[in-house]
């Protein structure tokens, strides 16, 4: 598979870039944050109308049969403007779960809702503050889910929760409507001001069970991780471009600060890291599309994206000086989003450990 974009992907990328920069620029996120909102129903509807949330599903199920690589381009565009959208949880993870594990009936049933925006998913996996998929005390008994999931992204606005649970020792993924009896959600206020909730399931009846493959949850988690890595690519690109613009406008000592070699080299070094990281993220998405073992490729992408994004967002503040520390400036939004994405579904250290184990050391 080629790394270069073909005509269809170029079109999709241009559409997604244009949509997010016009409809959901960083200023829109700021306005939402100022208003105390964590979710924009209107924006979510428009993204569904663009066909992005159902894109992964086959045409028969209301989608367009696109691949993970394609959705990755949209996620990058979304990350670049820090848009708050259902693209990751619904378009990547929800649709991805249906694509990988759903029966044709399940795909058709949920696909229609994804396409018209009436269904939004949220993956309920972790039960503590650190990502640890082996830790799962949530159980499925007689078709009902009982347990507590923490830090569920989009957990407050989702219409359906995709709950990782144990069923007589085996991993299953239960689809539980958010308004089912026995589901209670408590919003958390996180540093990135996006929708995040703890969810308690008390004998909440599942609407559907997605049978998992041999790899259990890992296959789906890798879809989630690659999706986050694609968002991270966008976040670092947005922060970097803003910073590079500042190097070309701010003057001190009678010079543009971008003419100081101490800053030039650090900016150039960031670009090198970003280029290397981009290749890894694309490779992870292509590996998912190939259907072959994507574990190693995904861990490389998530770990490298984490390290690079940390570098870029730290330098973003430093290169802006005092203004970068103010709430009125966007630097803070980038670093806050960055660290949440870093912690989500395994940080760089988690994925380095996983890589080493996969390679027998």
């Amino acid at each position: 598979m080629s790394f270069a974009l073909d005509e269809d992907l170029t079109l999709l990328k241009d559409t997604a870039d244009g949509f997010f920069s016009e409809r959901a620029p960083v200023s829109a996120f700021r306005a939402m944050r100022d208003a105390g909102a964590t979710f924009d129903e209107g924006l979510a509807g428009e993204i569904a109308a663009l066909g992005l949330t159902a894109a992964l599903l086959p045409e028969a199920a209301g989608g367009s049969g696109m691949g993970f690589r394609a959705v990755g381009l949209a996620l990058e565009a979304e990350g670049r403007t820090l848009a708050v959208s259902p693209l990751l949880q619904t378009g990547m993870i929800g649709a991805g779960a249906l694509k990988l594990f759903g029966t044709p009936d399940q795909q058709a049933h949920y696909g229609a809702g994804l396409a018209d925006g009436s269904i939004r998913f949220a993956l309920a996996i972790d039960e503590g503050p650190r990502h640890d998929p082996r830790r799962c005390e949530t159980v499925l008994v007689n078709g009902a889910v009982t347990g507590t999931k923490m830090f569920v992204q989009d957990g407050g606005s989702a219409t359906h929760l995709l709950v990782a649970a144990r069923d007589a020792g085996a991993d299953v993924l239960a689809v539980v409507p958010a308004d089912a009896s026995g589901v209670s959600r408590t919003a958390r206020t996180t540093v990135d001001h996006r929708d995040c909730a703890d969810v308690i399931f008390d004998v909440a009846v599942a609407e559907a069970i997605l049978p998992l493959g041999d790899d259990g949850l890992e296959g789906l988690l890798d879809v989630a991780r690659a999706g986050v890595a694609a968002q991270m690519l966008g976040v670092m690109g947005g922060a970097f471009d803003m910073t590079n613009d500042y190097l070309k406008t701010r003057t001190q000592f009678g010079q543009l600060i971008g003419s100081f070699q101490g800053l030039q080299h650090r900016a150039a070094a960031m670009l090198v890291e970003m280029e290397l990281t981009r290749s890894c993220v694309i490779a992870a998405l292509l590996a998912l599309d190939s259907g072959k073992d994507a574990r190693e490729a995904v861990s490389i992408a998530k770990a490298r994206a984490g390290d690079t994004l940390q570098l870029v967002t730290n330098e973003t503040i430093q290169f802006h000086g005092g203004i970068g520390m103010t709430d009125a400036h966007d630097s803070g939004f980038y670093i806050k989003r960055a660290r949440v994405l870093e912690a989500l579904y395994g940080n760089a250290a988690f994925h380095r450990d996983r890589y080493a184990r996969l390679n027998g050391y």
Partner: protein
């Protein structure tokens, strides 16, 4: 069957028949082939393999057949490289001529120059060296002082070059000279090609910290170079020089600085340090090895991405410096970690107390320190990225 499938089938069959078995094994340093007038083949199969590849022009697959090249399309070349990789074939020859000088001769040379120099490169009959750096002109290459004075049908060259890789073995030099000392520094440079046997060329090897002497001081005293041996236009040599540097950086990156086959990092660390519960006992080293491995993969994927994007017609010129910087870091980190993993065994200089792999690791580690200097330092490449890619300006 498409044309390309047919080409693949034919190529595969030809390689099966013509690539000797020993040429499909990892290449020890002493079996590297550089060619030249007095070629050295410590393994006789290397000669067979070079002659076979050269007979098809496949040592320079993209060059036109008229000049001895393979005349392949990009797509066919991709197939050829695939098939070579599939059988783990060694490179038939390492050649600065094929990597960086031939392509600019194709671009800037006269018909006569192409016919004179290119076929010899393809067949490995000439070994070329690069006369760029001088004692006073390294990163500031355009400040070079070696003078070439017009003497009717020839130039008379006087000056000194330094760090000239393999000048002691080379048959020909591509040399930057100053032809107009009064013009601004970038506008008075020309490119001359001359035989290293020309009277007045004197070469003295320099020893590196790794113990090897792969480069030299080159003294040029009244060296007479006939005018038809000037490449490109008088005083416009800087354009040619920059093109060569692009090829050089790309090729350095493509080879990943990899000489011969050596120890593998994870295997060596496991053997030396051992596993506890399946995990390398030195957790700190484990984490750094993993970063290095990921960096290496990121680099290799980026090479592939640059190639894919070039094939698709995208703008890829910025990759040369980006990848050169990354390649240097990659190889330095890798060799550094290897020495660390081997402990005192990684610090042997010579003798029976060390096995060959460990001794090579020591030398490779030292040699790698040059990776961020040769072909333009990492700092200079960062300058290039800052200016040409990020659009940052110099002090006013």
């Amino acid at each position: 069957m498409s044309d390309l499938d047919a080409f693949r089938a034919e190529t595969r069959a030809w390689l099966e028949a013509n690539c000797p078995a020993s040429m499909r094994t990892p290449m020890p340093d002493r079996e590297v082939v550089w060619g030249g007038r007095n070629p050295h083949f410590s393994n006789p199969d290397s000669k067979v393999w070079l002659e076979a590849m050269a007979s098809r022009g496949w040592t320079a697959p993209l060059w036109p057949k008229a000049y001895g090249g393979g005349g392949l399309s990009n797509a066919q070349n991709a197939v050829l490289q695939d098939e070579l990789k599939r059988i783990k074939a060694r490179p038939a020859i390492l050649s600065f001529g094929i990597w960086m000088f031939g392509p600019v001769i194709l671009e800037y040379g006269t018909e006569e120059q192409k016919l004179t120099y290119l076929p010899d490169m393809v067949h490995g009959r000439t070994w070329w060296c690069q006369g760029y750096s001088e004692p006073g002109a390294g990163s500031d290459l355009a400040g070079l002082q070696t003078r070439a004075v017009d003497d009717g049908d020839a130039f008379i060259v006087n000056g000194q070059k330094v760090w000239t890789s393999y000048a002691n073995h080379a048959d020909w030099m591509l040399c930057l000279v100053r032809t107009n000392p009064d013009a601004p520094k970038h506008e008075g440079i020309s490119v001359l090609l001359f035989d290293m046997k020309t009277p007045g060329v004197e070469v003295r090897p320099i020893k590196l910290i790794s113990g090897a002497s792969p480069f030299c001081e080159t003294f040029l005293t009244d060296v007479r170079v006939p005018k038809p041996q000037m490449l490109g236009t008088l005083n416009k040599g800087w354009d040619v020089a920059k093109r060569i540097l692009q090829y050089e950086r790309t090729n350095i990156s493509a080879s990943g600085f990899g000489g011969g086959a050596g120890l593998e990092l994870v295997a060596a660390a496991k053997e030396q340090i051992g596993l506890v519960d399946g995990v390398l006992a030195d957790r700190d080293l484990r984490s750094r090895i993993t970063r290095q491995k990921m960096y290496e993969r990121a680099f290799n994927l980026s090479m592939k991405r640059a190639a894919d994007e070039a094939k698709a017609g995208g703008e890829v010129s910025h990759y040369a410096s980006v990848l050169k910087i990354a390649a240097a870091k990659l190889n330095q980190d890798k060799t550094e970690l290897m020495v660390e993993a081997l402990g005192m065994d990684g610090l042997g200089w010579e003798g029976d107390g060390y096995d060959a792999g460990a001794l090579k690791a020591t030398r490779d580690w030292l040699r790698a320190k040059a990776n961020s200097i040769e072909g333009g330092t990492s700092e200079v490449n960062l300058n290039i990225v800052a200016k040409r890619v990020l659009g940052l300006r110099d002090h006013q």
